[in-house]
Each structure stands twice: as structure tokens, then as C-alpha cells.
């Protein structure tokens, strides 16, 4: 999922400086699930914004909250929010960067602000209370050859052919030997699966990666007809 982080409140608050009514749009997708951008967080942020404004004697601010299944979904954003958006001066998005842009594209007459910083594509390990990057969205997946561990993302150097000399006791030099070397993990996993032949396969440097912004044709789409 898309891993997000709430911006410092002061930053959010100063973005919304002059507005007197805003709509906080939560997202029930990635950011909601990670307890950063769901309806609950929208409610908490509403409380913070209202109370902070009251304390600063900056006049009242009227905050409405709503959350939608996915802010990255153009149709949902366009069809399910219209009434709420119309009532407010500005929009504060609790979605990822995609959500903010979707809102901004559709409601181009309203200022849209991000409440979150979008970090990476990753997953949560609840036992450690941490989120980890897992995918660089490189567009050329080799996980089949690496035991389901992505060296592009998890090797600090993005190496494709085994560990470098910076590995000591299975730990990576880039992070002061605190994090696992991805290639040692791959070695262990392949060994466990009896697929060591894959380890010795040579993978040449990849040159076919597209430049941003990337685009993709959908296989099945009515727009073609």
C-alpha cells in the first residue's frame, strides 16, 4: 500500500491560514488503513483546527469531515463529494499524493491542500510498529527470481547480482549495519526453497525503464470504442 505520514499540524494550519470553512476528505484506502487518513483522523484534525483557530482568536473556522473509499478514484471523487465540496471554501486531503491531485484536478475551482506526506509503497509490520518500503514500482518485476524479495527496493544500492562488499554479518553498511542485507535474505530464501540455481543467474543492468510520468494503456476499456 501507499505509506503516508501526517504533516506537522503547524504546517497544515498555516496552509489553511485565511479560509473559514474547509472540507477534510479522508480516504478509506491506504491512508485510512494505516490510521493516518481515515474518518477518525479527519475528526481529530477537525477538532485541532477548530480549537486552534479559536485559541488564536483568528475567528471561527467551520470544518466538515467526510471519508470516501479511495481518493485516487476519479469517479468516486467526482460523483460522491460534489455537494460537500460546494459548501466549503477549501479542501484538505487526507489521501496520498494521488488523492490530492485527483481532488485538485476535479475541483479546479477550489484550493486543495495535502495534510499528508506520501512516503513510499510498502507494508506495515505491526509487531515492530514500523512501516517498510517494499516496491519501487520499477515496471520490470524480477521477484520470481529473487525469492519474493525485491533487491531494487531493499538493497540500498539496488544491486541485481548478489551482495556487495559492504555486507558484514548479513547487515548492510549503508545503514550502519543495522538493517539486513537484501541479498543475504534472498540467498537464504532461495536456499530454503531449493532454488539456488537462480542465485547464480546473471542479471544485466536494466536500461528499459521509462521516464516519468509513466503511462499505461488499459487492456479492457470502453474508452477505446
Amino acid at each position: 500500500m501507499i505509506v503516508v505520514k501526517l504533516k506537522p499540524f503547524t504546517e497544515i494550519s498555516s496552509m489553511l491560514g485565511k479560509y473559514q470553512s474547509i472540507l477534510i476528505v479522508g480516504c478509506d484506502g491506504c491512508s485510512g488503513i494505516y490510521e493516518v487518513g481515515g474518518l477518525k483522523q479527519a475528526e481529530i484534525l477537525k477538532q485541532q483546527l477548530e480549537l486552534a483557530r479559536e485559541l488564536r482568536k483568528g475567528g471561527k473556522i467551520r470544518v466538515k469531515t467526510v471519508s470516501i473509499p479511495r481518493q485516487c478514484d476519479v469517479d468516486i471523487v467526482a460523483n460522491k463529494l460534489r455537494r460537500e465540496v460546494a459548501e466549503q471554501e477549501a479542501i484538505l486531503s487526507l489521501g496520498c499524493g494521488v488523492g490530492v491531485q485527483t481532488l485538485a484536478d476535479i475541483y479546479d475551482d477550489k484550493p486543495v491542500f495535502p495534510a499528508l506526506d506520501t512516503m513510499f509503497i510498502g507494508m506495515e509490520d505491526k509487531s515492530q510498529g514500523k512501516l517498510f518500503e517494499r516496491c519501487k514500482a520499477c515496471g520490470d518485476c524480477i521477484l520470481a527470481e529473487t525469492g519474493g524479495i525485491c533487491p531494487i527496493t531493499r538493497c540500498a544500492k539496488g544491486l541485481l547480482n548478489g551482495p556487495c562488499g559492504g555486507t558484514v554479518n548479513s547487515k548492510c553498511e549503508v545503514y550502519e549495519y543495522t538493517r539486513d542485507c537484501a541479498w543475504i535474505l534472498i540467498w537464504n530464501r532461495l536456499k530454503q526453497r531449493g532454488m539456488m540455481n537462480l542465485f547464480t543467474k546473471f542479471r544485466p543492468f536494466r536500461v528499459n525503464r521509462q521516464h516519468s510520468p509513466r503511462e499505461l494503456e488499459k487492456t479492457i476499456s470502453v474508452s477505446k470504442h
Binding site: L39, K40, L55
Partner: protein, 1167 residues
Amino acid sequence: MKSIVSNSSNKIGAVLVVGGGIGGIQASLDLAESGFKVWIVDTFPSIGGVMARLDKTFPTNDCSMCILAPKMIDCSRHPNITIFSYSEVKEVNGSVGNFKVNILSHSRYVNADTCTGCGLCVEKCPVVNVPNEFDEGIGLRKAIYFPFPQAVPRVATIDAKMCLFLTKNVCRICEKFCEAQAIDFEQKPIEHEVSVGAIILATGVETFDAQLKYEYGYGRYANVITSIEFERILSASGPFEGHVQRPSDGVAPKKIAFIQCVGSRDVTCGNDYCSSICCMYATKEAVIAKEHMNDIDSTIFYLDLRTYGKDFDKYVERAKNEYGVKFVKCRVSAVEEIPKNQDLRITYETEDGKVNEEYFDLVILSVGLQPSENVKKLAENFGIELDKYGFCKTEAFSPVETSRPGIFVCGTFSSPKDIPETVIQASAASTAAKALLSSARGILVKKKEYVEEIDVRGEPPRIGVFVCHCGTNIGGVVDVPSVVEYAKTLPNIVYVEENLYSCSSDTQERIKEKIKEHNLNRVIVASCTPRTHEYLFQETLREAGLNRYLFEMANIRDQCSWVHRNLPEAATEKSKDLVRIAVTKARLLHPLERLPLNVIPRCLVIGGGISGMNAALALASEGFETYLVEKEKELGGFARNLHYTLEGNDVQGYLRSLISEVQANKMIHTFLGANIKDVSGYIGNFKTTILDINGETKELEHGVVIVATGGEEYHPNEYLYGDDPRVVTQVELERRLAEGKYDEFENVVMIQCVGSRTEGRQYCSRVCCGEAVKNALKIKEKKPDANVYVLYRDVRTYGLAEDYYRKARENWVTFIRYDENRKPIVTKQKLENGEDSLNVLVYDSSLRMQLILNADLVVLSTAIVAPTDNKKLAQILKVPLNEDGFFLEAHVKLRPVEFATEGVFLCGVAHGPKSIEESIAQAYAAVSRASIPMAKKQIQTEAIVAHVNEEACIGCDLCEHVCPYGAVELVRRPDDKWVSKINEIMCKGCGTCAVICPKMAIEMFHFNRKQILAQIRASFLIPEEGEFEPKILVFTCNWCSYAGADLAGVSRIQYPPNVRLIRLMCSGRVDPLFIFEALRSGADGVLITGCHPGECHYVSGNLWAEARYDALSSWIKEIGIEPERLRLAWISASEGVKFAKEITDMVADIKKLGPNPLTRSITVKEV
């Protein structure tokens, strides 16, 4: 279980439980819940026993009162339990199945039926200097008294020896002040006769009289005290309110010493046995003392460190490493007092042979347990045999049966033991009684019939308010009539009245009448605490046809009049507020339903060893079918390797009879060579798939599960085991001895703790010391001139097994202590004659020299380890394991045979290493608990549970992550939508999931967001005028911190009246939105309170509260509100002082801080 033949038709379905300590309480609750009438007799004015006097309990440092008090209350309000406190058994006639018992209740001079427990008499009594037995005489009480604030029954007692009227014919002040007119100086002792089918003796023991050890100076030196006295000193509700101070001058001690084995393991005073618990309690007291005052240094002088229980060694390691407790192995010969400052000098020998002299501020004697003086009379009375020390005589294979059929025993009366062992035996004894009386089950219990419930849904609220004077307890401080007048002005109020005592039986009738007369559909009683009285009023509502959950209480006594006695006006205003808050919530109350759930009366027992088979047989004798699943091809488990016990009983013979009994029993369906594949369902309705011996799958349906998977022997790779056939394990030795092969050895060296108490397996295997002594004695018996050496770290022959340790020494078995850092070395050496000689090198820490022992047999006392299969089974059953791989029970002290998951129980070595006797007791105990739902046939789901709005649910699964009971599961609906489902049977209602839900799709019944927000808004109505008085909103959990607030009241500890308190089920229910609402609604500060970490009644709710508190602190800081306005405090049920202090401190701090900057913009609100 011995079968007792008697005519079933005249068996009486009632049981007498003698002794109201934790053992008696547990046995009574088990029996009463299973459909038997129970009479408890206790000589003390309150039940609770020794456990009530303990400050904390090891190894979790749980507050003793916090975990005991709810059980005491359960006893007092159970319809099938009658408590005769301040009473004794005079005579027992009849026989098994039908005893006639005469009970004498002493005069309390207070009418128990009319006494309301208000305590005014105690306050007014002029006799102030009576040493309080409960505080070991350190604290004082009055001539009329409650032994301790949480006493059950809460009836005052007059001490006839101290009462001025009864001794000198003057005074009668209590009589004048008692509004309930409960004082009765004419009261005579009353005799009762009860008929019971069985008797359980849970009389407990006394502590050793330390004065008999003259050399330690107890009774002569002021600063030598006993461990139980120190326990009271440590207790927050003790004589010094938890301040550690020494008796001579009240100064806080810096250096304290514990002397172990005072009155234990001591032939000079006749107590040859080990008291089992002292090593642990001394360690605990040292740890707690350090927690009280960081500059305390504790030294424990011990003989052997006998911390053999589950996770005890880890506790000791923590005491050493984290708390700096020093352990010195030395029998202290004497304590000397330095007259000028009353410090104490102890001279002792250190391990390296030096003589040391050290001075201590306080010396604590770890007194042992011993049968009470009148035990002989008791034995005569009940016609039972005692052992040579005066403990009740029992047999190894029937640990809870006395010599007289129908009379059972539990707890320390049969041998010294700790609380969990006592609880286990109590449940075991109740199983024995239940099995005996199973034909009479349900005959003598009351079953209440109720009128049909009135459907009030959709009706506008019609609220009735009853405001209690509680004599003068409330009325003497609070202007009750003005509270009544105020209540009349609140919305939806239909009827208001005041009562002298709202709890009296005539008021209950009145409430019922008024409900009918005015068509009330919500009722509020403004009186005392819901902890003790909610159930009573809920019953009244239900009798009047209203749903129990349409009731709300305002605690204007414990949390108002008692704690603001000198501020009557403020107390009156606060009472009005509390009534208003209650009305606000009452308007939003909904009727709740508890759904009946049928229980399949069959049990799955996993494991066919001694524990599993005993469980199956006990279940059968209670009349329940069992599926007994054993993975091996034959029954017997690990005991097949054992041949005799320490006491000399024949294990194989016992096992054979047990197996044939199991095979012959038609109620037991045995599956050998079978494995558990899957378990689904929940209490009452489990479905288990097993793979039987033929590889076929079978599906079993059952209501409960007992896990009895046992343990395995550790296979050592140390000490040349496997390299040399002369190195064997104790089990292998035992087989040889049983086969009579004694000629093979002359010199036997036994090495203890092989695989136990080491890196990676930091637990004691508990039975190995006994095993070694057992086999050593066997060798000596058959071959007296053989040399037997036992190399040990601590000899842990606890309890009565100490006798055999002494016998072994008397028979010239040589015990050599080695240090864990210098383990023995076993070597092989080629001799000139070509033979290999086997030598054991050991450093003897007493002689301080290296010894070389030539051995022809080296015997390793190997650890008991958990089967590796446990992990898989734990996953299937969704129950936890501890770090050593043994199953982890729900609560170490009070729920030793059950898991947090309802309907799943455990016993035997699956729980941790233990002896056969202990395994049998635990098997019976598991049966006692497991049979309760089956005996009831139907259980009811909780009403206060969480509920998911499935349409809103986004399937994030956070709720499943936070639920400590596995009650929430993300499931795929038939329409393929993934939603969280809450199993209402497993949900305990903490509300933690409702807070974490990012879509706010989870609600808690009875504590829903709307209700709580309304309560918050109603808390502070009118802005203060004049001088600023901070207003504090407090959130408490239903258990520890609310009880702590009540205790502040019961103890009359005064604190500022600026607080309003909102009770939730758990601090995990505190939603960040509640805090913001409080700050918006006029609160100048918010205090979140809950149970101490590790003591949460919902396992981990308080930890979630703490995490949210941290986040909230920064959130409110971000918006410009001082984070000091939000606080978090852990308050246990015994910390009334702490509660009051937290409030007082917070009020003072917020006063300095000034008003909440938000309140300026708040004007008068409307409800």
C-alpha cells in the same frame, strides 16, 4: 478418583466450605456456578483470608486486593452462596452425601440484615487504640470496626472486649448515631444447622511465631519484623499508607535484610518442612520496597533459593539485575541490636569463607507456614487424620481427599503452597465434591423467575431519580432535598424522590411501585458505588419488568460526600452535576440483550497422560462425555517412564488402574494415535477435526476443551551423554532401578539442572530435585554402601518433600553445591588396564575446592521441556504460549487453569513442569472450571459488547489486531465483502477496537460514543464566577481506577471537589475525541486513569490508552493547549491515597496554569 458408594437418592446438593480465604472463595464460586448450594464459614468478620492482607502478588506484582475483591463481591451476591462470617463449625454429624453441621455465629452486636456498612459508627466510636489484627497489630482500629475497607460482608463488628458499653456499661455512641438502628447490644450468638452432601476444608494455616526464634530478636528488637507485617507496611491501604518506615522511629530504612527459613526447614522448632512460598515472597517484598523507595538496598539471606514455580526464576533474575536485590547463601545465626540507634547487626559468612559484619535498618523474618494451634480440635470435629506436623493427610494420587469420605481439602491446610496452587486445589476439591453429588446437582439452588420484559424502544425517556441519604453519610454533607429539586428541573424527568437508604429492601419495593405508577422507562439511583450496588438495583428494575441496562447510577457518596466532607456546598453542587451527568446518559440508554447459547455437554481432552485421563474420569463422574485424543498409540503419557513417587507410591500400578478405568468408562471416547487438525467455533459449540490412527478424518462436536498435552524429557548433549553409556538420565536410572539392576554401580554422581535454569531455558523444572532424592534414596535402600553424590545449585525439595531431602542426608547421600558459572565437567580417561574411567570434576562452593569424583554412573537430572507440537496446537486453538513453549494461562494467580479464550482450559505439564500429585489436582481444577458451562447447559453472551457497522467497515482489520480475546475476525461475507465480525460470545466489552476503528464503524453497547460525549458535555455546565477553580474531568476504567476512587471515599481521604468522573469499561475505550470534547466543554484538565500495566482486566487496553495519551499530548500541544492539562495515571484498587493525591496535585498544578484558554468562549450550555 475413588468411587464412593452411597445411596444417591438421599445425597444433598449442598456443600459446606470451611474457610473464606482465596481457596474457600474459589471452591464456593465453582460449586455455586455448577448448581450447588454453598455455605461458607469463616471465623474472621470478613472473608478474604491471608490474600486480602497481601500488598502485591508474585511473579506479576499484581495488586492482591484488585484481583481478590471482585471475587469476594461475587461470593457475597451469588444467590447460591451464604456466608457465615465471624462463625465457626461446632459439630459435624452424618456421613458422606448427608452431613449435618452445626455452625455457631458469634455476636457482632450489629444486625447484619439492617447494617448498611456506612461506617458512621466506626467514625464516632471513642475507643481508638485497638491493635488491628488485619494489619498484624501495627495499625489501630476502633472497638466497632470493619477489618478492612473492602470487607465482605460489609457489616460492622463490635469487639466485645474493647467496647466501653459491653465492658464498662458506658458510651452507646454507635447506637445513637446508627440511623439504620442496626446496633444490638442484646444480640446473642446464633446456632445454625445446615445439611450438606460434602465438606471442603480450606482453613489455611498460620504463620510461625517468630518469637520462638529468640536469636533473631523478634519481640525484643523494635526493628525486627515479620514478612507479613512488612507486607502490611508496603500496602497502600496498610497502617502507613504504603510508606516504608521502621517501627522504632518511623524513619525510612535504607538497608533491609530478609532472613529466610524462620520456622521452616528447622528441626529445632519442629517445622522440618519447607514452607514453599517464602523465597518468592521475600524476593517480591524486596522488589516492591525498591519500587516504593529507590534508595533501599535489600539483602536476602537464604539456604536454598526455592523459586521453583512457573516464571519464578525469571522474577529472581529481574530482582537481582534490575532491582539490585542481593542474595547471600548463609544461615544467619543471630541478629543483634545496637542500642543507641536500634540498628541491627548481622554477622555472616560469605561464599568465599570470610566473616562479614553488616548493619541494617530493618530486618524482616521470612516466617514459615504452620498449622494453627487448634488444628487438633478441628480434626476431631471433622473426623479427619492429620500428618505429623498437623497438616491434613492426603494421598499422592488423590491430593484433595481427606481420610474421611465426603470431606475434601484444599490450600495450605494440606501442605504449604502459594496462591495459584491453592486456587488449583480449591477447584479440584470442588470437582471432587461435584462428582460425589452430581445426582443432586441443581436441586437446592434457587432459580429466579422474572416477569416479561417491557419493550420501551421508541418511547421517549421517562426517567425516575432516587436520591439516597445513606443515613447521614450523604445527607450529613450533601443537601439532598436541593439535589431532588434540581433533578426535577432536568429534561425527561418524570419522578424524583429521596430515600433514607435507597438500598433497603422496602425501597426496592418502592422503586418497583414507582416504575409501574409513573411508567418509568429509565431509573437513576444517586447513592453509592455501582461496584457494590449496581447489581441490586438492576435486579429491582428487572423484577419490575424493565431491562437491566436502563439503569444508571450517580456515585454521590464514595466519590462525593465522603471525600468532600468539609465542603457541603461544593459537595451539593457536585451531586447535582453527577445527577445531571447520569440523566444525560440515561436519556440515551438502550435496552440490551444477553443471548442464551446452548452448550454441548461434551469436552475434548487433548492428551491421554495422567492429567488428561484424570480430567476425563472426573468429567465422566460429573456426568459429562469426553473425547480423549492421544497422539501416541497408548495411554499413559510421560508417566509410563516413571515407576514410583518420592513417597514410595507405585506409579505403574496406578497408571494401569487409571487406564483400565478410562477404557471401561462409557462416557469416555478415546482416540489413540490421533492428531488435532483443526478447531473451529467457540465456547459451547466447538467443532474439532482429528486425523485418527487410520488416517481418517473425524469431526467432533463439543462445548469445551481441556489441553493436557504434557511435557517431554530434555535430551542432553552435555556431560558426555550419548558418548558414554554410563551417562544416563534420571528416567533411565529409574527404569534400571525398577528392573532391580543395582549391581552395575558403586559410585553414582547425579548432576542437577541439566538443561534447566540455563541460557535459553531459564526455568526450573521443579521435579528434578525430588527425582534425584527419590532415586538416591532407592539406591541407598537397596545398596546402603553405594556412594551417591548429588551435584546441585539449590535443592528444591519444597513443601513436605523436604523430609526426604533430610532423610537422604541422614542416609549419607552427599550433596555438593556447584555454581552456575562453574558447572561440573564429566571426563573419560583411559586407565593403564585399558578401561575408561569416568570422572566428574566439580568445584564445591562450600569446601571451596575442586573435587574429582570417580563415577561408574553419572545421572543427569534433565529438564522437562514443552513438546514442539505445542506451537501448532496453540495456533489452532488461538491460545498463547510462554517463551519456554508451555501454555500460558489467563491469569497466573487466579485463573491458573483457563485461557483468556473462553471455553478452553489447561492442566498438567502443558502448563509447566509439575509433579504427578500437582498434575492430578490441576486436572480436577480444569474439570471444575470446564464443567461450569456444561452444568449450566446454557450460557449467556455479554450485553456490553462491541458492534460493527458492516456497511461502513473498510476491512482494515485493525480491530482484530487490538482485540486481546481473538473476538474480532476479518471475514468474507457471502456477498464477498470483507468485514470485521465481532464474536459476541468472546467479546469482553473493553472498547479498544471502537477507538482504533479509522472509519468509526465500531460502537460499544452501553458506552457508546454518543452517550459518552453527552456525559462529557454535561459535566461542567456553568462557568465559574469569582476565583478560578480548575475543573478536572477524570476517565476511569470499571475495575482498578474506579475502585481506587471508591477506596479514597471509603477511607475518607479528602480531595478537592473540582472533579467529575466518567466511568468506562477500560482505559482503552478513551477516544481522542473525548479529550477534545472535554476541552471544548469547560474542563481545565483531563485525567485518564486505568489499571497498572500488566494488570489490565482486558490484558492490554491500558497500553493502548498509554499510546494514545502520548499522541494526544502532542496533538493538544500543537494547537496551543498546555500538554500539562492532560494526564495519565495508573491507579490500582488499593490506591485510594494515590487517587486523591493525583487529583489534589492536578488541581494545584492546573490552578497555577490558569483556566483552559478555550473556556473563555464558552457560555452557559443547555443539556
